[in-house]
Symmetry: C2
Amino acid sequence: MNAMLETIMNRRSVRKYNFDEVPEEQLMDILEAGRWAPTGGNCQTVHFMVITDEKVRSELRARVQSAFARMELTEDLYASIKNSIRASRLGTYAFDYKAPILVVVSNRRGYPNAMADSACALQNMMLEATSLGIGTCWINQLHWLDEHPMIREYLEPLGLGTDETICGALAIGCYDGVQAAKPRTGMKVDFIR
Amino acid sequence: MNAMLETIMNRRSVRKYNFDEVPEEQLMDILEAGRWAPTGGNCQTVHFMVITDEKVRSELRARVQSAFARMELTEDLYASIKNSIRASRLGTYAFDYKAPILVVVSNRRGYPNAMADSACALQNMMLEATSLGIGTCWINQLHWLDEHPMIREYLEPLGLGTDETICGALAIGCYDGVQAAKPRTGMKVDFIR
């Protein structure tokens, strides 16, 4: 197994961060990794909003909690959205795990490869962070709330384009300890030889 | 810059393959890289169909060409789809660049993270291949033709689930020469400090 595969297999979703600072140079390398993702027709329209301001992250957290808490909990909802609603109603929900850095990844609305391109950028950032010993977690809540007025009216003045859709986000930060690897029991491979 | 970022920046979309064989062990590592992608709620539902059979790839190529050639060329279509239609009408279209290996990546229909999870798996495979000196190219044509009867009736007997949607595909093969890097002029990064 080469170093790349080893890093890929070592990546974990980190959901608990400590107070150590992510060195500026490492953050820049993580973002550069995202910027070098492939894009459909090389259109390069992925947009990264890097939020390190604690006040902004805290206000965003409150808005996300408030938005979910008011949502109706119906059976047909995706399981993770149900969890977000339940946690938000308890009033202690931190959708970003209070990571010191949150990168909001958006793309042009109506562009057919918006999610594909953004996901490649997110995966690049996760792998670069892993190679540097920095923790990350893909955050989907802002994607789910993409059209919610409480989120749009807060993020648009901060730079989210009115013509952009939020495809995902990434929590980034330092963490303690090593998490156990989860085996891959699914992810089926068939060969047509 | 560390080795991970270097590999990320060295990845290219390879559109011309030679006849060298991709060593079995390297193909397995590329697929393993895909299998270790993160998935929403760790559901692990990405499905990889690895087509190395030349007859199958050739028949699939003919079906893709035929499907596109019959499509109406309307202004509102995505630019790359228009290109596929034009090339198919000329009768010499090879959507997979005749790469020796084509991996069809599918996922459960209706699963909200189907594209996100599949894209992470594709990006992992592209990076592992790059680290091994193997070329790859993200192929979108089967995704665009996901619901087309000519594609479904051919791929379902080969293992594509009737409950699955094709999210993308990957051409894999050896190649000659080094392509020039395209600069990242887009991929905007904003900081909220």
